[in-house]
Symmetry: C2
Subunit: 506 residues, 2 copies
C-alpha cells in the first residue's frame, strides 16, 4: 500500500473510533430522555462526561493533525469533490474547531452552560428576566471569546459561531435571504389574521387515544419510508431524532389525547430527520462522507416531510380514510377539506415551538436579529427584552404579555447555542427549494402522494442529498441540486399556494 | 495528604473510571436485549468491542499494578477487613486475573466463543452433538490453557476457572457440599414422583393477560422492596438483572399469557438480584467494597426472594387476594392451598431452566460432575453425551430423548463459561443458610410475610450481606453471618419442610 493510502486509512480508523465512542454517548443520551430511572441521573452524567472526555481526546489527538497535514501536502486532493479530498477537508474543519479553543475556555463554557440552564429554568418559571440577565451576560461574553479564538473572515464574529451548525454559511448571506422573506411574510400574516375564513381547529382537540395515535403515526412514518427494522419510535418529553450509527436511528414524540397534530406532525418531522440518517452511506460511518451536511440541510429534510408532504392536501387524500378508521369517533363526520384547513391553521402566537408553518419563520428572524448584535457587542443583554418585544410587535402585530412568552421562552441561549436558530428557517427555505426541484424532475408529486407513493421523492432525496454525505457544503448543494442559490422565493411561493385559497386571499 | 493516601485515591479513581466505562457497556448490552432495532446489531457489536477494549486497557494499566504494589508494601493493610485492605486485596485479585492471560489467548478465546456459540445454536436446533463436538474440544483446550496461565493451588485446574465466578472457592469444598445433598435429593425426587398427591398444575396455564401479569409482578417486586425510582422492568427474550451503576438497576422478563409462573417468579428472581445491587454502597461504586461478593452469593439473593419468599405459603396468604383481583377469571374459584401446591409442583424434567426448586440442584450437580474431568482431561468431549445421559438417568430416573434435551441444552460451554454452573446450586445452599439465620435473628418470618412485611428481612440482608460489598469472601461471609460453613443441611431441611406435607411424605 502506498504511504499516503496507509496514512489515509489510519485517519479513517481514528475518526471512526471517535465516532463509535460518540455513538455510545448517543445511546446513553437517548436512554436518559426515554427510560432512565430518576435516581440514575447523577451516574448518567458521570458516564456521559467520561465518554465526552474520551471522544474529545480522540478527536483532538495530535496524530490526526499530523495525518491531515501529510495528506494535505501529498498533492492527492486535486479533485475537491473526491471522497479523499472531502474527508480531509471536513476532518480538518472539525479538527481545527476542536483544537483551537483553549481548554480553560471549554471548561468555563461547560460549567456556565450547566448553571445558566438551571438559572433559565427558574427565571422562565417566574418570568423574571432580571434573574437570567447575569447569566446571559456571562454566556454572551464567553461566546464572544469563543468567536475570537475560532477566528472568522468578513469581520463578523457571529459567523464563527454559525459555522458550528452551518459550516461555511455567513450571516450576510442569511440576512440577504431573510430580508425579502420577512418583507412578504409580515403582510401575509396580517392578511390571514384579517381573513374571515377560519379553519375549524376544534377538530384537532377532540379525543385521539394515545395507542391509536402511536399506531397511526408509525404507519405514516413507515409509508414515507422510515425503516423500523433499523429504527424505533419511543416517548420522550422533548421530541427528537437521534442516530446511534448504522442501522439504528431512533425517533421520539409525546402524546396528548386531546391534540392530534403535536404527536403526528412531530413524528413526521423526526421521521424526516430519520430518513436522512437512514440514507447516508453506512460504510462511510465516522467519516465526513457518512455524515449530514449541516443542521440547515438536516432541518430541510424534517420540514419537507412534515410540511410539504405531511400537511399537503394530497397526503391526506391518501391517508384521511385510514385516519377516519383509526379515530372513528373524532373523524367519521369530518370532511377532508375541513381537516386539511385545520391542520394548516395559521395564526400569530407567542411561542416558537407552537408556531405554524408561516409565522414560524418570523420567530426565527426575530432571534437572528438579536443574536448578531449581541455577539458583535452592539446590543447589550440588558436591552434584550425591550428589543424583543418591539420587534415582535412589528412582525406579528402582538406584544408578549411577559418575558416567559418572549425572550425567556427558548433554552438555546442558556445552552450557549448562538447561531443555531437560523438553521431552522434555512431548513424551511432549503426544503422549499428541494421540493420545487423534485417536482421539476419527477413531475406532479401531488398525484403520487394521493396514491400513497412516496418512494420516488425519497429516492430523489437519497440520490441528490442523503447519499452525498458532506461532499458539498449547504450552499453548494442547493445550487447543484436546484440550479439556484439559497433563496426565499420557493418557500414564499409554497406558502402562498397553500394559504391563498385557504384564507381567500387574492 | 500522606503519600500512601494519595496513591490509594489514585487507585480508586482508576478503578472507578474503568467501572464507569464498563457501566456504559452494561447499558448498551441491556439495550441490545430490549430495544435495539434488528439492523443495529453489527454496529452494536462494534461499540461493545471498543468499550471492552478501552475497559480492558484501563483495568490492566501498569499504573494500577504499581499502585497496588506500593500499597501492599506500605504496611497499612494490617486489618484485613478494613476498607483499604479489602479494596487492595480484591483489586489485586482482578488485576492479576486480567493481566496473567497472554493477549493471544484472550483473542483466541473471544474469537472461538463467537464461533462456538453460533455452532451451538445450529447444533442444538438439529440436536447434533457431532456438529458441536469440535467446538467443545477447542473450547475445552483453550480453557485448560487458561487455567494453566492463571495458576491454581491444590492441583485442580478447574479451580482456576471457578475462581472467576466464586473467588476463593474450591471444587473440593463444593463437592463436599454437593455429595450429601445429592445423596438425599435423589430419593426425595423419586418419592415425590411416586406420590399420589399431584398439584393441579393446570391452574397455572389458564389465561393471564400480559398487561395484568406485568402490573402484578411489579407490585410484588415493589412490595419486597425493589425501588422503581432507581430501576425498571422491561421485556427481553432471556430474563436478567443488570446494574448500570448507582440508581439504575434494570430487570427483564418475558410473558406467556398461558403460563403464570414464568414471568412472575422470573421477576421475583431478578428482583432478588436487583435488591442486592440496590443495597451495595453507591459511594463505593467501582471499588470492590461497592461490588457483590460472588455469583454464588448473588444467586443466593435471587433464589431467596424467588423461592424462600415468593413460593412460600405465607407470601401467598398476603398476595393471593390481590392475585384473584388481578386475574378474576382464572383465580376466583381457586383455593389458596391449590395455588400454593401448584406453584410448588416438583417433577423430574430434562431442561434445567424449567426445573423446579428440588430437581434444579441435580441438574447443576450433573454439570459439575462433567466439568471437572473435562478440564482435568479425564473426560473427553466425545464422551460427554454418554456420560450425561447415564448420570441423568441415575439422578432423575429418566433418559433424555436426544442431546437437545441433554448435553446441548445450555449455552454456557459454548460461551466458555466453565465453572459458572456450580454457583447456581451454591446460591440455593447459601440462600437456605441465610434464610435460616434470618429466622433465628428476626423470629417467625412467615408471620411477617403473611402481613405483607418484607422490610425486616430486606434490612437484615442489607446489613449482613449487601452493604458489606466484597469485604468477605463467600465462604467467610456465610460462616460469619450464619455461624456455619457452607452446608447442604439448611437447603435440604427447607425442601423437606415444603415437600413432605405437599406430597404426603412421612
Amino acid at each position: 500500500m502506498p504511504k499516503i493510502e496507509t496514512s489515509y486509512q489510519e485517519l479513517l480508523k481514528l475518526l471512526r473510533e471517535a465516532a463509535v465512542l460518540n455513538s455510545c454517548a448517543s445511546l446513553l443520551g437517548w436512554d436518559e430522555q426515554t427510560y432512565l430511572p430518576q435516581a440514575g441521573s447523577a451516574h448518567r452524567a458521570e458516564q456521559l462526561a467520561l465518554l465526552a472526555g474520551l471522544t474529545h481526546d480522540r478527536s483532538t489527538s495530535p496524530r490526526i493533525g499530523e495525518l491531515l497535514t501529510e495528506l494535505e501536502q501529498s498533492g492527492s486532493l486535486g479533485d475537491a469533490e473526491s471522497v479523499l479530498a472531502v474527508n480531509v477537508r471536513e476532518a480538518r474543519h472539525s479538527y481545527d474547531r476542536n483544537t483551537k479553543l483553549p481548554r480553560t475556555l471549554v471548561e468555563e463554557l461547560s460549567r456556565t452552560t450547566t448553571l445558566a440552564q438551571s438559572a433559565w429554568v427558574s427565571a422562565r418559571k417566574k418570568s423574571s428576566f432580571a434573574e437570567f440577565q447575569p447569566w446571559l451576560e456571562k454566556m454572551v461574553a464567553l461566546k464572544r471569546e469563543q468567536a475570537e479564538a475560532l477566528g472568522y473572515s468578513g469581520g463578523v464574529p457571529y459567523d464563527a459561531l454559525l459555522d458550528e451548525f452551518e459550516p461555511g454559511a455567513s450571516s450576510q448571506e442569511i440576512a440577504a435571504a431573510f430580508a425579502p422573506l420577512r418583507e412578504e411574510l409580515v403582510p401575509l400574516v396580517a392578511a390571514i389574521k384579517q381573513s374571515s375564513l377560519r379553519p375549524k381547529v376544534e377538530l384537532l382537540t377532540q379525543r385521539f387515544r394515545t395507542e391509536d395515535q402511536k399506531h397511526f403515526a408509525e404507519s405514516a412514518a413507515r409509508a414515507i419510508g422510515f425503516d423500523f427494522e433499523a429504527g424505533r419510535l419511543d416517548i420522550a418529553a422533548h421530541p427528537f431524532c437521534s442516530s446511534m450509527g448504522p442501522g439504528d436511528c431512533r425517533l421520539t414524540t409525546r402524546y396528548n389525547e386531546h391534540h392530534f397534530p403535536g404527536a403526528f406532525f412531530g413524528v413526521m418531522h423526526e421521521a424526516g430527520h430519520g430518513l436522512y440518517e437512514q440514507g447516508v452511506d453506512p460504510a462511510a460511518f465516522g467519516s465526513p462522507m457518512g455524515d449530514a451536511v449541516s443542521l440547515g440541510i438536516h432541518e430541510s429534510q424534517s420540514r419537507l416531510w412534515e410540511n410539504f408532504v405531511g400537511r399537503s392536501r394530497a397526503f391526506w387524500q391518501h391517508f384521511f380514510g385510514a385516519a377516519q378508521q383509526a379515530f372513528p369517533e373524532a373523524l367519521t363526520e369530518v370532511s377532508l377539506d375541513d381537516w386539511y384547513a385545520a391542520i394548516n391553521d395559521v395564526r400569530p402566537s407567542f411561542i416558537r415551538v407552537e408556531a405554524d408553518e408561516v409565522t414560524y419563520n418570523l420567530h426565527i428572524m426575530l432571534r437572528f436579529d438579536l443574536e448578531q448584535p449581541l455577539i458583535s457587542g452592539d446590543l447589550q443583554p440588558a436591552d434584550v427584552p425591550g428589543v424583543w418585544n418591539e420587534t415582535f410587535s412589528r412582525y406579528f402585530g402582538l406584544t408578549p404579555p411577559d418575558d416567559a412568552h418572549g425572550c425567556l421562552q427558548d433554552i438555546h441561549w442558556s445552552a450557549g447555542l448562538f447561531g443555531y436558530f437560523p438553521t431552522y428557517a434555512l431548513g424551511n427555505m432549503y426544503a422549499a427549494q428541494f421540493f420545487e426541484a423534485a417536482q421539476r424532475d419527477l413531475g406532479d408529486l401531488s398525484a403520487l402522494f394521493a396514491r400513497g407513493e412516496f418512494r420516488p421523492l425519497l429516492d430523489w432525496l437519497r440520490k441528490n442529498i442523503h447519499s452525498r454525505g458532506k461532499q458539498l457544503r449547504a450552499g453548494q448543494l442547493v445550487q447543484r441540486v436546484t440550479g439556484q442559490p439559497l433563496s426565499h422565493r420557493a418557500l414564499l411561493a409554497h406558502l402562498h399556494n397553500k394559504c391563498d385559497p385557504l384564507y381567500g386571499l387574492s
